[in-house]
């Protein structure tokens, strides 16, 4: 019925945006972030996550403030208005490069539990190609489809979080998390950057804002998404530390899977970590789709095309090829630890939006005078 050819038509409301954002923010860290955080801040990891959430909230504030200055445009388009044509294109390219790198990493990481926990002898390229097929299908069907998918996934996710927080209670050992008040706040802050970097990914809001129908409560929705994701992440991290002790969390990459694997309530409930794998599939799939969509949509705007679909067909094989390149899991994890947290988080997620916001505010005030 909505036969408008305009790609700018609204695909979701603020609630849909919040759900989509929660999905994108929490999908990877809920499984991957406890381990590196614990490595730095030991049993205070859950506090680190909360500190990280606070940082992410600040990033979220800047992002939405910037995004709502140009509510009908994406960052790719209005960066040229802010810093001029050439520099604007560079800014756009930087963002797109970040989105591309996340897509590639998320695609590769998507297959990890299927290889690690479910022993299947399927060659990696097959897995990646099949996954990419699904993602492409979702992206071709549009942002509305992706948003509806995330609505479905989030409802399961609420149940999943409850399972994560209830089932392992029989392994509780409060001693593991003591002392609760940290002696060493430096440790806590240093550990916070990992989760903060994940939670600050709401920078993709800069690409999604034009597609949200009702923008009045967008700031609230976005901050709520960051806050809820942060609290859930902190709670799960705390649960892992309490039940498994921080040394063991540190030594396992997918500690959340381990949390469930050890949480057998009775012998009739075996192998419940398969729930986690299903959840992983759904969450990361939506995240991948969102990134491929904004990547294709951003390229469309940068190149001044009308339709994003041809770009998707070109991008999908490229991303799949790039995802095959890392040889094993240690090479994959180099990216989040060495590139993502120190460089991208600081430069692209914090400094760049702040500068853009500052310049745009100054320009607007200049125009008024």
């Amino acid at each position: 019925m909505n036969n408008t050819n305009d790609t700018k038509r609204a695909c979701m409301d603020t609630r849909g945006y919040t759900f989509l954002m929660i999905n994108t923010l929490i999908s990877l860290p809920i499984f991957l972030s406890p381990s590196p955080t614990v490595a730095v801040s030991r049993q205070y990891a859950w506090l680190s996550v909360l500190v990280g959430t606070a940082q992410a909230l600040m990033v979220g504030y800047v992002v939405i403030k910037l995004g709502l200055t140009y509510p009908d445009k994406t960052i790719i388009e209005y960066s040229q208005d802010i810093v001029g044509k050439f520099a604007g294109k560079i800014v756009g390219l930087i963002f797109l490069a970040v989105f591309l790198s996340i897509s590639v990493m998320a695609l590769r990481e998507f297959t990890l539990p299927f290889q690690g926990f479910v022993s299947i002898n399927i060659p990696l390229p097959t897995l990646l190609i099949m996954t990419m097929l699904l993602v492409t299908y979702a992206v071709i069907r549009g942002l509305k489809t992706i948003s509806i998918c995330s609505d479905v996934i989030i409802q399961f996710f609420i149940g999943f979080i409850l399972i994560l927080l209830i089932l392992p209670t029989k392994n509780l050992n409060i001693l593991n998390i003591k002392p609760i008040i940290p002696h060493d706040w430096g440790r806590v802050v240093r550990g916070s950057f990992d989760s903060a970097a994940f939670l600050a990914e709401d920078v993709i809001g800069l690409m999604l804002i034009p597609y949200v129908s009702n923008k009045d409560k967008l700031m609230k929705g976005n901050q709520l998404a960051v806050l809820l994701s942060g609290i859930a992440l902190s709670a799960v991290t705390a649960m892992e530390i309490v039940t498994m002790s921080y040394e063991r969390v540190d030594s396992t990459i997918f500690s959340t899977f381990m949390l469930l694997r050890e949480a057998q309530f009775s012998s009739s409930l075996e192998r419940i970590e398969s729930i986690a794998i299903a959840m992983w599939g759904g969450l990361v799939f939506v995240k991948l789709s969102v990134y491929l969509y904004i990547l294709a949509d951003g390229l469309r705007q940068l190149l001044g095309l009308k339709d994003y679909k041809p770009i998707v067909y070109i991008l999908a094989p490229i991303i799949t090829y790039l995802a095959v390149l890392p040889r094993d899991i240690s090479e994959i994890l180099v990216f989040p630890n060495k590139v993502w947290v120190p460089i991208i988080y600081l430069a692209v997620l914090i400094i760049l939006p702040v500068i853009l916001l500052l310049i745009s505010t100054i320009r607007k005030q200049g125009e008024k005078k």
């Binding site: 849909g16 479910v118 022993s119 099949m130 996954t131 489809t145 509806i148 609505d151 075996e270």
Partner: protein, 520 residues
Amino acid sequence: MSFLDKLFNKKNEQDQQDKQKQAEDTKIDKSVDNNIKNVKRTLNENFDVITRKVSLGGKSDQFVALAYLDGMVDKNVLNQSILRPIMLKPVDDMKFHDMGPGRYVREFMITANDVEEVDKFSDCINFILNGCTIVFIDGCEKALMCETRGWIQRSIDEPQNEAIAKGPHSGFNETLLTNVTLIRRYIKDPNLHFEPLTVGRASRTNVVVAFIDGISDNNIVEEVKRRLKGIDIDGVLDSSYIAEFISDSPLSPFATILSTERPDKVAANMLEGKVAIFVDGTPDVLMAPFLFMEFIQSPDDYYEDSMISSLVRILRMLALFTAVYLPGFYIAIVTFNQEMIPTTLTLSLMSGRFFVPFSPFAEILFMMILIEILREAGIHFPGTIGQTISIVGALVVGQSAVSAGLVSPFVVIVVSITTLASYSVPSYTASYMMRFLPYPVLIVSALLGIYGFAWCLIAMMVHLASLESFGVPYLAPIAPFNLRDNQDTVLRMPRWIMTYRPSYIKAENKKRMATKKKGK
């Protein structure tokens, strides 16, 4: 469309148009004899076209003629209310000359209940084809249409495909008017609209779009009408023809338009703001929009206790997913991921398969196709034998296949659970989807194990998410999520909680009842 098709179509179209034009051009003649001749010629002198020329009120110079189709008219009405008064009632000459023959016959002679004047000859033919009687009068350029429709029709039975334990047991039949009346008896709102349309070049099937003004979404009503008007087909023999034309994604295995034989279901849906499409000649009424959650809803949910209904709905949801995914899950476990299930179960699974010569995939595919054959045979066996044969067939074939070592007992269990589960989903519309979907899931899971299984789950989710039914997202109100609308999806809340109509249908009147009030 290929080039040849285009060529032929063009020719046919022209023929059709010429014929129609000819018929429209002909005005009604003043002479009765000419009119009779025209009717006979237009309807190709067929044996069931009856024309009768009689004297008007015993006058020797004034005649009238009747034309109708044998078998389509109620002969009692024809004889008692049209023929009898015209032939036997003496004519009051003064009035006759004052008013003219047409008006006089209409107002003073014919006693049938519904009589109308017709100007065009083509309309006359249309009415005759629909079962009315046309009265031509000497010296009058207008004809009279008398409503005499009446033919043998099926009684209002309980629909066999949608039988329920409790609640009204009436079902639609093949007559449009009866079906419309059944709805009228449920909803006595003056805002209830029935808008007639005609679809089909040859069949000229009457189609009625029904909705309640104010409760239904005007955009959806307009969209339904627009799509119906766009249909160009020679004949509509069943409402499914129309459903195929107007549904949003006819190639998807998931129906985006409901077809039901239950008047109570149609009435309930219309009260939620949906649009009904009645098609003459079919007991299946179409409803739009149709959403995924309606697969697990049945009218008796509303006639039973809300707690029980909610539990039954959860069960149906489970059954739906079992029917689609169980074979795929089994194959993924057996061929790839034995470690996914408890060890003891794996051991007994494997010991059951020990003597089976085929691969698990071939084994389960064989059993599934066998069940399909039995299912198909069960439908086409004559009369009551059908059920017996299919049960015997299943038992004998299943039992002996296991004891002969062709298939493992687990496969028989899996396939029979799948089949049973597919029948516990109440919607007949869903049954075809549930027959088809297990196969792709089976194949992908056999190739990729539990990853393939998960792949299928996500693929189905994306597909469902991408569907729309007349502008409403197919997964609504689960996604996009709306808490208030979810009071009647998987759970069926008590009636006094459901104060509002579903919000995915955008209408002025949203409130079902004024306040929340329990019975007491």
